[in-house]
Symmetry: C3
């Protein structure tokens, strides 16, 4: 039998039935990814498997390095096909790693390839995939259509012009491509050189001067409004831990002023400043009805030597073991006390914290909003079968799985859309297994809709983004320019 077959990962008859009946056909709402809006707007055509598959994939680089492959074949100067060969030679060494599943699922779904990738098959697969990549079906937009991506949210700096989002909205391209407001750089008072460079960009984007914190807040609010007008309904933050050492505007302003003059904030000061800013961002999101995403717990840039050579996001990050509970509670509670807690999705990187976060989400209900604080799907190193199962089980045992808004690719690659299929198979496999063991009622009128909702409808209803809408079509939101473009279709 082929490795990737119809019932891959579906280990019981019920699991297979539930998947094929309820999950398979659902559209995709990829509400968190790192795709390039430029590539989508330009409808990029990929030259070869290197461009679409290896170009920026630090998962693969890590595996290759662990396999003893030299850097020149990962991020270095080797030729595209050489790099592909090095990857192909590594693949058989990734048995039991999610890369082994993803690789073959992607080859199958994009190119209909059933062969296992290895050194020997590399050239054949390179050629066959290359031919298909040359067709319009495999342009950036073609791929989104092919995988029924109803909407996707990219990840963008507040200083971004969003020109590509604007162009896409105007173009009538049916997949909603919406920005996400990710202001991590606004917290970097401990790195004044970076901070001031970024402030310059913010000044330009907001067409203002930023001599002090008050003006930065104004500029950020203006950008938040601009993003909103472009259809943005999500923000995102990458934090080792939540900041919880809240301080006054006066204190934060003094820290800002020093950083503005080039003096790095101490860790304690940066903590205060971060706490101040995160409250500010929370209020902005709550005010506009956005959803805030918190990506908690990564330990980044651990290898200074290779960081200085290769830059960030090149495969030298890992899972941190920071305490999360008390600080996260303090952050959410502080906003809740002012009734300024937005809808929030907490992504967890350390499986040891699943139960901590799975209980935290239950502490902040929103009158009438089901599962207002969500436990995000398995993130980064947890975006694999074991990690997904842990997340699904924790959420099931501690909260309401039925209200889960489901999967995101979180990917930089247009080859990652089968991750949604992968997730849905894992989900249906768990539920089908429970039914087989009698731990869930054998009743598809109960289980079918739940599965469908987790695949798509819950995210749609919860996020209520322009063009995908609901929550009563987002309470008839005023038609912003970009939204007009969206609804013109």
């Amino acid at each position: 039998m082929k490795f990737i077959h119809e019932d891959f990962l579906l280990h019981t008859r019920r699991a297979a039935r539930l998947y094929h009946q309820y999950a398979e056909a659902e559209p995709i709402f990829d509400y968190h990814c790192h795709l390039s809006p430029r590539d989508i707007a330009a409808n990029r055509q990929f030259k070869d498997l290197f461009e679409i598959w290896l170009e920026g994939d630090h998962y693969k680089w890590r595996a290759m390095r662990a396999n003893g492959v030299e850097e020149r074949y990962c991020t270095g100067a080797a030729k595209p096909f050489e790099k592909f060969q090095a990857w192909a030679a590594t693949v058989p060494h990734t048995l039991r790693n999610p890369l082994y599943h993803w690789t073959h699922l992607e080859l199958k779904r994009y190119f209909g390839i059933d062969e296992l990738l290895d050194e020997e098959s590399a050239a054949r697969i390179w050629k066959k995939a290359g031919e298909r990549l040359a067709t319009p079906e495999f342009s950036a937009q073609g791929i989104l259509k092919r995988f029924k991506v109803a909407a996707l949210c990219t990840t963008d700096d507040p200083t971004d012009s969003l020109e590509h989002h604007h162009a896409l909205a105007a173009s009538g391209f049916p997949t909603r491509v919406l920005p996400t407001f990710r202001p991590d750089k606004a917290l970097a008072v401990h790195q004044p050189a970076h901070f001031n460079t970024w402030l310059k960009r913010l000044e330009e984007a907001a067409d203002t001067e930023i001599p002090d914190l008050a003006h930065m807040l104004e500029a950020l609010q203006a950008r938040h409004e601009y993003f909103h007008a472009q259809g943005c309904r999500l923000s995102d933050h990458g934090l080792a831990q939540c900041y919880s050492d809240f301080c006054t505007l006066k204190t934060a302003s003094a820290i800002f002023a020093r950083a503005r003059r080039g003096r790095a904030a101490s860790p304690a000061e940066q903590g205060q400043f971060g706490a101040f800013m995160m409250l500010f961002f929370g209020r902005l999101d709550a005010d506009k009805g956005w959803t805030k995403q918190l990506h908690l717990g990564a330990l980044r840039n651990t290898n200074a030597r290779l960081l200085s050579q290769l830059g960030p996001d090149t495969g030298f990050d890992s899972i941190g073991d920071y305490p999360q509970g008390a600080a996260l509670a303090a952050y959410l509670d502080t906003l809740e006390r002012e009734r300024a807690l937005p809808k929030t999705i907490i992504y967890n990187i350390n499986p040891a914290d699943n139960y901590v976060l799975g209980t935290m989400i239950g502490n902040f209900p929103g009158d009438g909003i089901p599962a207002k604080v969500q436990m995000g799907s398995g993130w980064w190193f947890l975006d694999q079968k074991e990690g997904m199962e842990w997340q699904l089980n924790a959420l099931s045992n501690l909260g309401l799985l039925s209200r889960f808004i489901g999967m995101v690719t979180d990917s930089r690659s247009f080859m990652s859309y089968p991750r949604h299929e992968y997730f849905r198979r894992v989900l249906c496999n768990l539920i089908g297994g429970d039914v087989e063991r009698g731990e869930l009622p054998d009743d598809e009128t109960l289980l079918g809709p739940m599965i469908r909702n987790i695949c798509f409808a819950n995210a749609r209803q919860y996020l209520a983004v322009p063009g995908v809408w609901s929550q009563e079509e987002a309470r008839k939101a005023p038609a912003h320019p970009a939204q007009r473009a969206v609804s013109r279709r």
Copy 2:
């Protein structure tokens, strides 16, 4: 097939056999719960499913809130049947949550109801259950009899008069209803208003004045003796972490004095005071041969806004991620050095700590007392299949499962007694599965007694409470008044 059937949760033939042969018929020793002694003594009759099932159940409130139900249907002003309807409508959304199992197991065991609860079946089930609740079989005492509860230990403040326990002992009611000494309020020097209010009650209960720490210690010791005389043999403490910053009587006295005058202790001072008091309580328990329970790691009252509206224990607590190992070791060791370490049960709320605590219990053996320090059964958020299995597996791998004293309901509701059944099914399912896979010998002379012991006999022997006794009928303990009452039967 009915959802709750004879072999529910028993996935192999051996599991089913072991459960029905060895576990099912054992009586219950519910040595930790939060039932109301007043309700038992008054032999309360419950008017409807709301009173017996929803009245104080923060698990259900959390699920309802997560389902978007308004507070008015949880703790608010809605009518009992409206609240029940809101709960019924939430039930289908709890698929894969333990509430889904508990709900239907309880409906089946109490009322013989096989229907799944949902909006449509709500009225029928309300009516049918209501009829049965009107019968004497469903009074508080009737229920305890029905579920073969040999003994239960409530949770009581040292200032409690224990009048209901006394009345019950005098009444000849066959289930032993014994108090547990839970002096958490004695540590609250950081909340002087609460602390002094409570001290006033302690003064009255102990019929003394408490101008200083020495007098508080005397009063507590007197109450400890009074509890002992009423058949109490367990204490209990709810702590985020163990206190381990031990201090002298002089330091503790100074902290007490300031709190007595209304000045709140700093966190550091409260830590010292807590450490001092916990050693004091340890000595009291060791001296009397009691068992100390430590409930470690909860992160409580995270939502200040709703706490101020609804009070504590209403569903806004979660799992903390505090370091536990070193402080717990320091606490146990300090008592051990003075040979004042009582039998101790450590309940763990964070599954990430199971292995830390599962090894800790092995460090403090008691000459001749098997498993003198116990790892408590799955607690609170862990009181479900996955959580129980983790606890059982950790204990099995790191210690002696055969010496485990088993399950408690830890519940405020008279509807929770099937939790013992649930636990026993999980236990037998694990063991039966091991046998099927050849990982345990297929020998019921080995496995049967082990299961029976975990269900009842181990707890009896370990706790040795009046009227249930053993450890050679608790070494022929002198007959206290309450114990006389008990043994009069």
Copy 3:
């Protein structure tokens, strides 16, 4: 069926096939253990089951104590057979504990005994095993031969003369018995009495005086070279957490000087000194191409009363819950920046940290060395089925299982060699199960070599120790005296 049968722990047909075909026959490379080199050199013959099985086994003592057995039958004055009887009576109480499996696997593999051990069978088993122990096949060397141990690495203090290793190398005994450099005592500036006693031994071993830190470093380097000459290629460190508060030579020298004069270092000073020394040791290992082992996270000597009676390593240690990520990253990164990071194996004692460490190992690739930083096999309390599976799954999901260097006994007992078999069964069971479920390709040309490599070849290639060699026979290392002895064979 017998409890230990051919397919013990192998729950699918593929698992059984993979084990018998690829794993079973592989030789053993036990690169970390605590066997006594003296016993091997003297080819010790064991008098009875007590000597070979119970003499120093704190796992068994813990179980016996948890079973209520008095200390006199554990470490005390009882006679060997009495102690064995106490152990035998405890065995049925260890159901589901790894001791139950190990016990019967060891009885089967060493003595062909199929009976279950308990009070009743104790005398028969004592007798039967005793008879076999009297034969030459059961001498220390006989056992190593019987279990096809190609090489083993003991654990040795830098002050050790290594006379037994030398004698063994000279003797032509085919199993390579190599030392490991474990300099934990060099960090003990917080215990000046112990520290100075040990320095005296170091002075003697290095034939020098050590008035200051510089001289200690020189002496340690000399011993490191001496160990190298005796075939040593591994170092080892037992640390609660990595030290990361790096300091200058000047600061470290001052701390040393105070400890040398008998003044205990403060915890902060000890932390600085430890960090300084660990960098020093890292450089030594990197320079010589050794592999550094880090055993992280144990919480040792928790029971002061019994520690003072029985000494360390007697069963009063447990799993700590220290944060590991940031400090470990800092340590590895600091060495990496100087290009002085040796091959490193990180052993983890807390399963909650598996994912933290499983990602950390990917951050420090070595050009051309596959999996230069390794995640060590399940250690101590994790050296059991559940613990091994977690380690294997974490490593699989986060890194390359195929590059794993596999199992060690970490044992003080000559009866522990079936642990390798146990591990291999667990490994093959996981992989076979994956194949059955279609999660791995059903292709033995892929899976067979991977299994074989994990059993032996990966460790050989990675560690490249004298006499077992490779990495192109350790780049034709210059023939040291001990190595000459080794190659003389």
